[in-house]
């Protein structure tokens, strides 16, 4: 207990928590992305993947673990934002970066807020299939609960929603480009020797995720609008 209170009660400890949960989320994002690549293959492949995934032993436990990583990461960063604002109650009239600012580091808060909204929407949209209402999906009308592929296809017909998804893809990429390497620094796993390499990996990771999810979103938009046959 003393360890936990030392960690949660300390600025360095809080960095640890953000770093560890951040890395967990990175792992989640990567796996989620790889899984979603099945969408590019087709309906059967994706539904198989979803089925197998859910059948994994301890799936609920893992899901809960990732969910708590998200919750802790979000709660802690919000707390830090307020603490950091309090540490500088009066802002500068002119403040410039001394030249090391990256897109990722400059926008963590903005991309973070977007991602929080995105996450809530994404869960309601796909996981819980509440928004938009799925009642008009043919299977639903027929009285059968639509499968996840149907939910996705149905949602991705909507251009506005797709753009929102693309926004999410870009934000998650940018957020990761700073967050991934930053986690290593926070956890003290940093040496001048491999830090540049880590920064490169971090940036590549961000770009991969941003482009990858965008491609999937665009692909699904096209597929969903080509024909209603799959529905």
């Amino acid at each position: 207990m003393t360890i936990l209170s030392s960690v949660f009660g300390s600025s360095v400890g809080k960095k640890f928590i953000v770093g560890i949960t951040g890395l967990a989320i990175c792992l989640f994002v990567l796996m989620h992305f790889l899984g979603n690549l099945n969408l590019l293959i087709g309906k059967e492949a994706f539904l198989d993947y979803a089925k197998n995934l859910h059948a994994l032993p301890g799936f609920v436990a893992i899901e809960l673990l990732f969910a708590s990583a998200f919750l802790v990461h979000i709660a802690m960063t919000i707390k830090l934002i307020f603490e950091n604002k309090a540490a500088r109650p009066v802002d500068y009239a002119v403040k410039k970066s001394a030249g090391v600012k990256t897109l990722g580091s400059a926008t963590t808060m903005i991309t973070g807020i977007y991602l929080l909204l995105f996450l809530v929407f994404h869960l309601l949209n796909i996981k819980f299939a509440i928004i938009p209402s799925i009642d008009t999906i043919p299977t639903a009308i027929a009285g059968v609960t639509p499968n996840v592929y149907e939910v996705i296809s149905y949602s991705f017909k909507n251009l506005g929603l797709v753009l929102f998804y693309i926004g999410g893809a870009v934000c998650v990429g940018i957020h990761i480009s700073h967050g991934f390497q930053s986690s290593f620094q926070s956890l003290g796993l940093n040496s001048p020797k491999y830090m540049p390499l880590l920064r490169t990996i971090s940036n590549l990771f961000g770009v991969l995720v941003a482009i990858g999810y965008t491609v999937i979103s665009v692909f699904m938009f096209i597929v969903a609008n080509m024909k209603g046959a799959t529905l």
């Binding site: 360095v12 603490e83 500068y92 620094q185 956890l187 003290g188």
Partner: protein, 250 residues
């Protein structure tokens, strides 16, 4: 020599004391020699103000050779001004152009309250050192200096970190007003040396605790501190501090 003169306008934060609200005042200065240091430009303004019976701009400074750490202000939004790896007293007017308007503000952080104009209270740094930034040896009874062998590499790393002058630019430039570069420099200096081993866990714990209690913000790895540090203290020190903290937990 390449020295010439320029005309610039200084827009300086004036604030009578901690209680009053401050505002910017504008001071044009003409025929500033480009060989002049930035603080000498402030001296020039002050001489003019005094001649007019007005209160000069209060600013901290002492050695004026970049080592005491007493000077510092945000110049056009950058701590210690545009030049890399120098303090404000070593920033020279040749880094500016004819016709420039230069905005000068004090360090801003809750833990560095403004005393007057550009003068802030940085005693929080002393409190952090007092909470553990030392080796607990009293005068006398110590072993011969060469009885403690220290690999050159470790001595050099310790020196790199020990070069910190405690000016506060790291806090001033950090988007979160975090003091982690300062604190980590001291922790890292002592953790690289055999003399610092005995107390290393206790030191990290206490210094970090004190830093937090004083109201500094949290580090989110923006690296602005490293970029403005006049002594080029490296961000790796923060990673070292984080490791020291982790080991202090067990």
């Amino acid at each position: 020599m390449g020295s010439s003169t320029i005309n610039v306008t200084l827009k300086v934060w004036r604030q009578k004391n901690a209680e009053t609200k401050g505002e910017f005042e504008t001071y044009p200065i003409n025929n500033v020699s480009t060989d002049m240091s930035f603080l000498e430009a402030l001296d020039t303004v002050n001489e003019q103000l005094l001649q007019q019976g007005k209160e000069p701009i209060a600013f901290d400074h002492d050695c004026r050779e970049g080592i005491c750490g007493m000077c510092g202000a945000m110049v056009d939004g950058i701590a210690h001004g545009p030049d890399k790896a120098v303090t404000l007293c070593q920033t020279h007017m040749r880094s500016f152009h004819n016709g420039d308007t230069i905005v000068v503000e004090p360090w801003r952080a809750k833990a560095f309250p403004i005393i007057k104009d550009l003068v802030t209270d940085r005693s929080a740094f002393d409190k952090i050192i007092a909470s553990g930034g030392y080796v607990s040896v009293s005068t006398g009874g110590v072993p011969d200096a060469n009885a403690i062998l220290i690999p050159k590499k470790d001595a050099d790393l310790a020196m790199d970190a020990a070069a910190c002058i405690g000016c506060g630019a790291c806090v001033a430039s950090c988007p979160n007003a975090s003091a982690m570069l300062f604190v980590s420099a001291k922790i890292s200096h002592l953790s690289h040396l055999p003399q610092g081993q005995v107390e290393r866990k206790e030191r990290a714990k206490r210094m970090i605790q004190t830093m937090d209690d004083l109201g500094f913000g949290n580090c989110s790895n923006h690296r602005e501190c490293e970029a403005v540090c006049p002594k080029e203290i490296k961000l790796e020190n923060i990673a070292t501090m984080n490791r020291e903290f982790a080991s202090s937990l067990f």
